[in-house]
């Protein structure tokens, strides 16, 4: 491909304008329409997306395995939070500039930590490196936890100990979080476009071969750690000035795991994937608040139904493959479209719900089906899969009452679970965990694999997928 300066700079200029437009639109257009809760979700999802993209720099692009990313996030948050608390009131600096300064300070502090953690990566591989990063995360959290200005703290440093540190004033706005995410993505992406960037990928694919071809693996690995950590430190700086209160529990092992989960689910190495997964996973935890309570027996019935269907579908699959050309495929595709109406009707009659709920259920069903159809199998092949999904939903709706009646008939279950109801809140984290496992089983490579979002990819979705075999390979 020949280099076309006009197109190159044109695209860049367009991207910049787009960024400015999006951020301005978000801040002045959309934000005034939202309440505090919605804007909080936006900020949190943007910050977590930044974290995921920054970890992707280490895990995805360079292929080092770090599972203690919350440590860098913590260092950024605490360093800047403490500085703001003690210095900001005396320094007469405009809040915007102070926030940028704090971002830089957070980045430097976390970057230094990233350098220190990156050193073992020279000698350690894979899981050993993973445990070192995990350990570093725990060490950072425990050290902060002990800094309460009393017996065990170093030099009487007071970071609020286990309780936490109040950070005032809360400077971070939605636009800052959006800019940070864009900055993080831009850094990662543009780095990959340079010649040095290729060395990161080389280290990921084969370290020995990379070294043999003259890549300085030492510098590459440490650079990845420093950049990833610095970006996480910036996120931490914005987080502490958004949340107004930070405590060691914000940065525990679970936080690290969730960030890793974002990267892996998004597709290790895919910047787009990490960002999307970061947003989706953050929102998923909150969206699960809306799940309504369910009787224990119904839940078991659903699960039994799901198992039956899973078995049935796995038997159906060879049939789909055999009738490669038309036949069953078309039938299933037809099911996909007609089935939605059927599903709505079934929900309506069986559950006797009001119309609004049925419509909502229908929309959710459709959306899930579509997402699955698009992610599970690309292009036209998706429609039969979508048909299967709809079939499965109908079948489950039909099966559930049968199982429920059966379960109610068993005295032991009736006695112990007959009146038990699981409230949505009790199920929230369990569903979240289940979703993690299911997504991994469906797409072990993550949503995007190594792929990136690009306009060509989007165009390709609507084209006849003649490249199907190539993608599958």
């Amino acid at each position: 491909m020949t280099f076309n300066p006009g197109k190159y700079w044109g695209t860049r200029l367009l991207s910049l304008l787009l960024v400015a437009g999006v951020v301005a639109g978000l801040q002045y257009g959309i934000l005034p329409m939202l309440d505090g809760y919605d804007s909080r979700l936006i900020v949190l999802s943007l910050l977590f997306a930044s974290l995921a993209v920054s970890l992707n720099m280490i895990n995805g692009i360079t292929g080092q395995f770090s599972i203690g990313h919350a440590a860098f996030y913590l260092i950024g948050a605490y360093t800047t939070g403490r500085l703001t608390m003690s210095l900001f009131p005396q320094m007469h600096i405009s809040p915007g500039i102070w926030l940028i300064m704090m971002c830089i300070v957070g980045a430097i502090a976390a970057g230094i930590a990233g350098f220190i953690v990156g050193l073992p990566s020279l000698r350690l591989r894979g899981d050993y490196l993973a445990i070192v990063t995990l350990g570093f995360g725990e060490i950072a959290r425990i050290v902060v936890q002990n800094q309460d200005g009393k017996a065990l703290s170093f030099w009487g440093l007071d970071l609020g100990g286990a309780f936490g540190l109040t950070v005032k004033p809360q400077l971070t706005q939605v636009a800052h979080a959006a800019l940070l995410l864009i900055f993080t993505i831009a850094v990662s992406r543009n780095l990959l476009k340079t010649a040095q960037g290729l060395s990161f990928l080389a280290v990921r694919e084969d370290e020995i071969a990379a070294e043999a071809t003259g890549v300085n693996t030492t510098v590459t690995k440490i650079t990845a750690f420093v950049i990833g950590a610095a970006l996480a430190g910036m996120t931490g700086a914005l987080f502490s000035h958004y949340e107004g209160f930070i405590s060691p529990t914000h940065f525990d092992m679970n936080a690290s795991f969730i960030i890793v989960a974002m990267v892996v689910i998004g597709g290790t190495g895919s910047i787009t994937g990490s960002a999307v997964a970061g947003i989706v996973l953050t929102l998923l935890q909150e969206a699960l608040r809306k799940v309504q309570s369910i009787a224990a027996i119904d839940l078991i019935a659903y699960i039994l139904g799901a198992i039956v269907i899973a078995v049935a579908v796995s038997q159906l699959k060879p049939m789909v493959r055999m009738h490669k050309s038309a036949g069953l495929k078309k039938t299933l595709a037809g099911f996909g479209l007609l089935g939605c109406v059927g599903a709505l009707a079934a929900v309506f009659f069986l559950a006797k719900m009001d119309m609004a709920t049925v419509i909502k259920a229908g929309i959710i069903t459709l959306l899930i089906g579509l997402v699955l159809a698009l992610t599970v199998q690309r292009g036209r092949k998706g429609l039969p899969a979508f048909g299967l999904v709809v079939l499965a939903i109908i079948a489950d709706i039909l099966l559930r009452p049968i199982f429920a009646v059966g379960l109610h008939a068993v005295p032991f279950i009736q006695k112990n679970l007959g009146t038990t109801e699981y409230s949505p809140s009790n199920l929230r984290m369990a569903i979240f965990a289940l979703a993690l496992v299911v997504v991994m089983l469906v797409k072990p490579q993550g949503m995007f694999g190594h792929h990136e979002f690009s306009w060509d990819w989007l165009k390709g979705l609507f084209k006849r997928p003649h490249r199907e075999e190539e993608i599958a390979a």
Partner: protein, 306 residues
């Protein structure tokens, strides 16, 4: 720092180490065959403790039963139940991902762990630790005094059972055909499969053994130390045992045992020096320190080829 207390603290550290060692064995075995950090292992340990609790407090009548029979039945129920659980987890969460990227496997393991912790809340309520007949409780809280050192008799029992289980495991791995197949799989998964080893069966056996060892650990610790049970019971011991396994060279059975003892002793020494708040952090500091000089743990084989 009271130097007179040092010998006593070392004894405590060794007893603590035995606990970590037992859990670490399961980690190390699963890692050996699958190269998977099984984060759900600590939660299997939790389920083992709960099964022991239900056995002693609800299913069996602990007032009328011979306490030793009850103890053994608690152990058996916990081990069998967790072996089944381990099988289930392996079959439905890990086996479908055979050949997938290892990071995906790790996320699945984290997912299973979260599922057992949070989903477990639906089944398991906060419960007191399992306990047995009063007369045995009297024995359990006593301690022997040898050369002026106090030894917790319940933990001495844990120590002995741990040693027995470890020796049995060692015999199994080195002397039996299945054990040899296990070592073959752990040495080279694909080649072992090509040589006619039924890899799926070996992985299943590994999970059965690892999970039942974790269950034994859960049952004995909960009974001896008296921590009330919650679904997060296995979280911290699980992480520490994992560190112990890595310390000794993950995948290496004697290494896991030695790692467990090092962990136990180091932790106790930190407390002895008066820095109890840093206890968990120091364990990691030592781990990082050792890995800097021995990148694959104390007894681990040299760094694998890429």
């Amino acid at each position: 720092m009271n130097w007179d207390l040092l010998p006593q603290q070392l004894v405590i550290g060794i007893q603590l180490g035995a606990i970590y060692a037992l859990i670490a064995l399961g980690y190390t075995m699963v890692y050996g065959v699958l190269r998977l950090i099984n984060f759900a292992h600590g939660d299997v340990y939790m389920v083992g403790a709960y099964l022991a609790y239900y056995t002693s407090m609800q299913w069996f009548n602990r007032e009328s039963m011979n306490p030793y029979v009850l103890l053994i039945s608690m152990l058996v129920v916990a081990m069998v139940g967790c072996a089944l659980l381990g099988l289930l987890i392996e079959r439905f969460a890990y086996r479908p991902l055979r050949g997938a990227p290892r990071s995906s496997l790790l996320i699945t393991a984290i997912g299973v762990s979260l599922l057992l912790e949070h989903g477990g809340l639906l089944v398991f309520k906060t419960a007191p630790p399992p306990s047995i007949h009063e007369s045995v409780n009297v024995l359990a809280k006593n301690s022997l005094v040898v050369f002026g050192l106090r030894i917790d008799s319940a933990q001495l029992a844990v120590f002995v059972v741990t040693l027995i289980l470890m020796l049995l495991l060692w015999q199994f791995v080195t002397r039996t055909k299945t054990g040899r197949a296990m070592r073959a799989v752990s040495h080279d998964f694909d080649t072992a499969a090509l040589m006619g080893v039924d890899v799926n069966r070996i992985v299943a056996v590994t999970f059965v053994i690892g999970s039942s060892l974790a269950a034994a650990g859960g049952m004995m610790n909960a009974t001896a130390l008296g921590t009330p049970l919650t679904t997060f019971y296995g979280l911290i011991p699980g992480v520490k045992a994992f560190v112990a396994a890595v310390l000794g060279g993950i995948g290496n059975i004697p290494g896991a045992v030695v790692g467990g003892f090092i962990m136990g002793i180091c932790e106790v020494l930190v407390v002895w020096a008066g820095y109890g708040g840093y206890r968990d952090a120091v364990a990691f500091v030592i781990l990082i320190g050792i890995l800097m000089f021995k990148p694959s743990g104390l007894f681990g084989s040299a760094a694998e080829k890429v």
